[in-house]
Amino acid sequence: MITFDHVSVTYPGASAAVLTDVDLTITAGELCLVVGSTGSGKSTFLKCINGLVPHFTGGTLSGRVVVDGRDTREHRPRELADIVGYVGQNPLSGFVSDTVEDELAYGMESLGVDSSTMRRRVEETLDLLGLADVRSRPLLTLSAGQQQRVAIGSVLTMHPSALVLDEPTSALDPPAAEEVLAALTRLVHDLGLTVVIAEHRLERVVQYADRIVHVPGAGAPLVIGDPHTVMATSPVAPPVVRLARSVGWSPLPLSVRDARSAATSLRERLRDHAPSPGPVEQLGELVASAHRLVVSYDGVIALAGVDVDIRRGEVVAVMGRNGAGKSTLLNTMAGLQAPDAGMLDVGGVAPARLAAPDVVRRVALVPQNPSDLLWRESVNAECIDADADAGVARGMTRAVLTELAPHIDDDTHPRDLSEGQRLALALAVLLVRRPPLLLLDEPTRGLDYAAKERLATIVQRLAADGHAVVFATHDVELVAEVATRVLVLAEGEVVSDGPTATVVTASPAFAPQVAKILAPQPWLTVGQVERALAG
């Protein structure tokens, strides 16, 4: 079906090859999972399949890539469109037209499919992906999950025999990701499509994969094999796998279900241990407190009477479904949104009343898209700007940055940084003013495991330094890792507020994998278990 024949890729201007001597064959009907940390070359690997590399990106490709008998040397991506469907990371940026139906039909139009067939395929696809009820909606009004499904549908209508997805969920929050992955697995099972998917939310897909390709990066040779063997060694692994490794189970369980059955003995061993309390919290003074806070955007109530106190040293996770008011809470605390009623006090004042410079001295907010905060041409320029804004000695920001994320090159363009590095830069730029309260909106979006771990340590260190950190997220693993307290919002109201362990284990929806495996025992993270077993 898809054959890589000793393929190496070098981009123009780059000194080293991204991929060297890749040699594999993906058989029809296979679900091939491509793992690897950000920037390791996953995307390059995928783009080779439909010829985007090198036709679109430029560069040198040695060896051959043959898809269904067509060699990418002779066939440009558009000539492969009818056999390879390629879906990129951010669904919204791939859209050409403005409504769902038109978008689904677009590909077929350029293939010249006759109109009756087009009509039929569109209807099929609408049903297959459960989009029938939004068929005539503008794409902008869809949820992220729906948008990604439309993106997938828009290539399915061309009836490709292979589907290539480049991190289809990295830009989505977990619920949306669930939707998409559910749809995908249905495709694999119903249509028997060949699917090559790069994904970092392994916990959801790894159990469906027939084969895993691990791209270590830096041109190192790929590790290819069946999930169990690859996962046994892969540095990128979901919690369930890491737990299994540390306890030394084999065969390696890939799903919570397998793990639970393997975990009986472990539960025995852990019965007489108690989870070491997470990051010890010594509560400092109050930095922010809201009382009966009510906020509404043009008529719609976003926050309906929220009470919350935040003290130094706390790490508060704000959870809840989309539109529950998480972002609104953070924006209001950062003074972007004026409350309609109730009292909000950040560092002794109401933030909305203050001029921008005074606010940022008290509270820093990193928005969902950190690059909004960055508008200079290089990391260095960005840091110097920040120094000037904060009125501190030149180099301070740079120092903060180096301790958040070591070895970032001064001259790199902020946009060329990885998501993790960019987040670090945004943090540094804000933290240089040492605001007591730090707010993060969906910080883990687009981060791979490594980046997430780095973020976790950063947050813990900040808390230890006496900052108060509040972050809105869907990512239960991160919450389990760092949060000292969880605040669950629903329809603008606080439905539960308490220590992480109690809130998270209370409902399966918010439970991390380890907790699910070891329930009813209150273990949250692999780290805790390892510590318990070690000690």
Partner: protein, 375 residues
């Protein structure tokens, strides 16, 4: 019998509007102009598409009023029309005669009325355009583009679907400035806001290009080379003819054949070239707007109205003349009065517009409907 609701082919609406506008531009007879405006208003009220643009009619209405006012003010300022019914003599600002400009002077009833008529005529044309914008959402025109313009059409539809996001992004960037403790006002803010938005847009454009490429964009069907060549040569010849026609139109006293006729001939040839190229491009259209009886009917009404006015304008200009030279009660030829009513017929000829929720095709919400008129 009950007609199924469907949206009329945008081209039909535009033909109708163009016809009425042409008619309006032929006369300065206020009564007729008012009838045309009323007709347009009635059609819009009856057959408005449910789009964010529906409001554009009133927007254009406002602009038309502005035009009228400006026109009259100009007259009052430079009032030097004929007529012997002097209402008032404004003091004249002494300016050297060589300038040829006089400010102030006599204001005559004739002048005032003719200014109003003139403004009213321009206003009516504007209102017709507004009507077209309101009944046929312009975005749907894109789907009617000929195949030869496919690529450009894609670019525009990308622009249309992305523009609202760009506006949102601008808002985000403004908030981001505040988050970094900068003020969101002033020239410097422009820089801080423009750059992130632009960067996002450009990054998006690259992803988009990849997505398009991967979805077979620009993949030409097996085009017969003779088709291609025919299209090309037709286009070239057409362009040449148009050039010559334009030249003939403007060159003093060139033979009549060299003017408009040649130009139109060229246009026809070029269009033919389009048609051929259209067949040549191996693309298909998903649910194209149908062109059925209703479309013919609506288009015809427009053409009829235009034709009637043009004919009268050339047969018997006096009747379409301003009523200001000399002042007189307007004498409206009854034929024209009747034809003007024809302009309102699309309200009944066009099928009812589909309610939202049914098969209507919504479009991204644009900024407040605003029309730019070069005045």
């Amino acid at each position: 019998m009950k007609r199924l609701p469907r949206t009329l082919h945008p081209l039909a609406w535009w033909l109708w509007a163009a016809g009425v506008a042409t008619a309006a531009s032929e006369t300065s007879q206020p009564v007729l102009l008012l009838v045309l405006i009323a007709a347009a208003a009635y059609v819009v009220a009856a057959r408005r598409a449910i789009t964010p643009w529906s409001a554009s009619y009133s927007a254009f209405m406002r602009i038309a009023v502005v035009v009228l006012v400006v026109r009259v003010v100009l007259y009052v300022l430079f009032g030097d029309a004929g007529g012997n019914h002097v209402l008032i003599r404004l003091p004249r600002v002494p300016l050297p005669t060589s300038w040829g400009v006089r400010i102030g002077g006599p204001l005559t009833a004739e002048g005032l009325i003719s200014a109003t008529e003139d403004g009213l005529r321009l206003g009516t044309v504007l209102i017709c355009v507004g009507a077209a914008n309101a009944v046929a959402s312009p975005a749907r025109l894109l789907k009617a583009l000929p195949g030869a313009l496919y690529e450009v059409g894609v670019a525009v539809s990308v622009a249309i679907s992305f523009a609202p996001q760009a506006v949102v992004a601008l808002g985000r960037a403004r908030r981001a400035r505040r988050l970094r403790g900068r003020s969101e006002r002033g020239w410097r803010a422009v820089r801080g806001m423009a750059v992130p938005v632009l960067e996002d847009a450009l990054e998006r454009s690259i992803d988009l290009a990849a997505a398009m490429d991967a979805r077979g964009f620009g993949r030409r069907g097996n085009v017969a080379p003779m088709h291609r060549r025919a299209a090309t040569s037709l286009t070239v010849v057409g362009l040449l003819a148009i050039c010559a026609g334009t030249y003939g139109l403007l060159a003093a006293g060139s033979p009549a054949l060299l003017g408009v006729p040649l130009m139109l001939a060229g246009a026809v040839v070029a269009v033919a070239g389009f048609a051929v190229g259209n067949r040549a491009s191996g693309r298909s259209h998903y649910r194209p707007d149908a062109w059925r009886g209703a479309e013919w009917a609506v288009a015809t009404t427009g053409i009829v109205v235009a034709a009637a006015y043009v004919v009268v304008a050339h047969r018997d200009p006096a009747t379409l003349d301003a009523i200001s030279q000399p002042l007189r009660t307007p004498d409206v030829p009854w034929q024209l009065a009747l034809t003007s009513i024809v302009a309102a017929l699309p309200a009944f000829l066009a099928p009812p517009v589909p309610r939202p929720g049914s098969r209507s095709r919504p479009v991204p919400v644009p900024a407040r409907a605003r029309a730019e008129v070069a005045l």
